[in-house]
């Protein structure tokens, strides 16, 4: 899923300061799961802004709404009546949601309240780790399903780098596991270590032409 975290309060206050009526739009999918932009986070940020603006003595109105997925036009469309009431929208979705909203509501400024950080999975409660770099040329089949592009600090495809610490920790960050140690251990467990002895052609780093676009084949 897409992982994001809230921007610093000062930045949010600064960006929204010129607008008296604001809509805080949450997204009910990825950013809800990573505790960054769901219904609850919308409520908390709205409350904080109300308290902050109240103290500053400004006339204000802050509306709240959360849709299932802001990155789908049909779902973001549900916000139309509320968007019409406000001067600007503060979106608590990932960058995709913010841009989808901006495409639908072109006449209103849509501001991001989150920094979209990476594609990851929950490691434990409240901790998310990066798992995929969306490179467009997946080779997890030969690395025991551990992606060195994002899980190796150096993004090496022919690791380990030689700096691996005792216990299989990373040279750059001793708190993190060396991705290539994980790959080695996983392949031994699966009896597929021969995959590391094979030669492979260079990875295609231009598999996705920016901006990426995929057209599904209609059956």
């Amino acid at each position: 899923m897409i992982i994001a975290e809230r921007k610093p309060m000062e930045e949010i206050k600064q960006v929204t300061a010129p607008y008296k009526k604001l809509l805080l739009a949450g997204c009910g999918t990825c950013v809800t799961v990573c505790w960054a932009g769901g219904e609850k986070e919308v409520g908390i940020l709205a409350s904080q802004l109300r308290l902050a603006r109240g103290t500053e003595g400004k006339d204000h109105a802050i509306l709240e709404a959360t849709v299932e997925r802001q990155c789908e036009k049909e779902m973001a469309e549900e916000l139309r009546s509320k968007v019409a009431e406000v001067d600007a929208v503060l979106s608590l979705a990932c960058g995709i949601g913010v841009q989808t909203m901006a495409e639908i509501f072109e006449d209103k400024p849509i501001f991001p309240a989150l920094n979209t950080t990476f594609l990851g999975m929950p490691e434990k409660e409240g901790v998310w780790v990066e798992m995929c770099g969306a490179c467009g040329d997946c080779f997890l089949d030969r690395t025991g399903s551990v992606c060195p592009i994002v899980r190796c600090a150096k993004g090496l495809l022919n690791g380990p780098c030689g700096g691996t610490r005792k216990g299989g920790k990373c040279e750059i960050d001793p708190q993190k596991d060396c991705a290539w140690v994980l790959i080695h251990r996983r392949l031994i467990k699966q009896g597929r270590l021969y995959l590391m002895e094979k030669y492979y052609p260079p990875k295609n780093f231009r598999a996705v032409k920016r901006p990426g676009k995929i057209q599904a084949i209609k059956a």
Binding site: K40, G43, I44, S47, Q48, L51, A52, G54
Partner: protein
């Protein structure tokens, strides 16, 4: 405003009333089934509605009727403090305290202490 766990603080508040112990007039007591029921958002909403301080009062540590409600409440109160700090605080206080149901004097002490704190900062509403 004091969110009081029905298994501890609310009984203590009730007992304080029966013993005619003096509590500040500006105190609003809200009974909750467990201190763990109090969410960060409830605390912020209390401030939005004009509270100067919010107390979350739950069972003694290790004696929560619902096992971990009081420890969760403590974390949430800390989180609410961080959120208030982000917007400058402005004389708004949050505190979580533990007490047993037979401690009416402790209840009054906790409430009085908080009242003194907000009086000093001139934020009694």
């Amino acid at each position: 405003m004091a969110f009081c766990c029905e298994h501890s603080a609310y009984s203590a508040a009730d007992l304080a009333g029966r013993l005619a112990l003096h509590c500040p007039e500006n105190l609003r007591v809200i009974p909750v089934p467990c201190a763990g029921r109090v969410d960060t958002l409830h605390i912020l909403k209390a401030f939005e509605n004009g509270a100067a301080a919010v107390l979350v009062l739950g069972c003694e540590e290790g004696a929560c009727h619902h096992l971990t409600g009081n420890t969760r409440a403590k974390e949430r109160a800390k989180h609410a403090e961080v959120l208030l700090k982000e917007i400058g605080g402005n004389g708004r206080y949050v505190a979580m305290s533990n007490l047993s149901p037979n401690a009416p004097h402790k209840f009054v002490t906790i409430v009085d202490e908080m009242n003194e704190r907000i009086k000093k900062s001139g934020e009694v509403r």
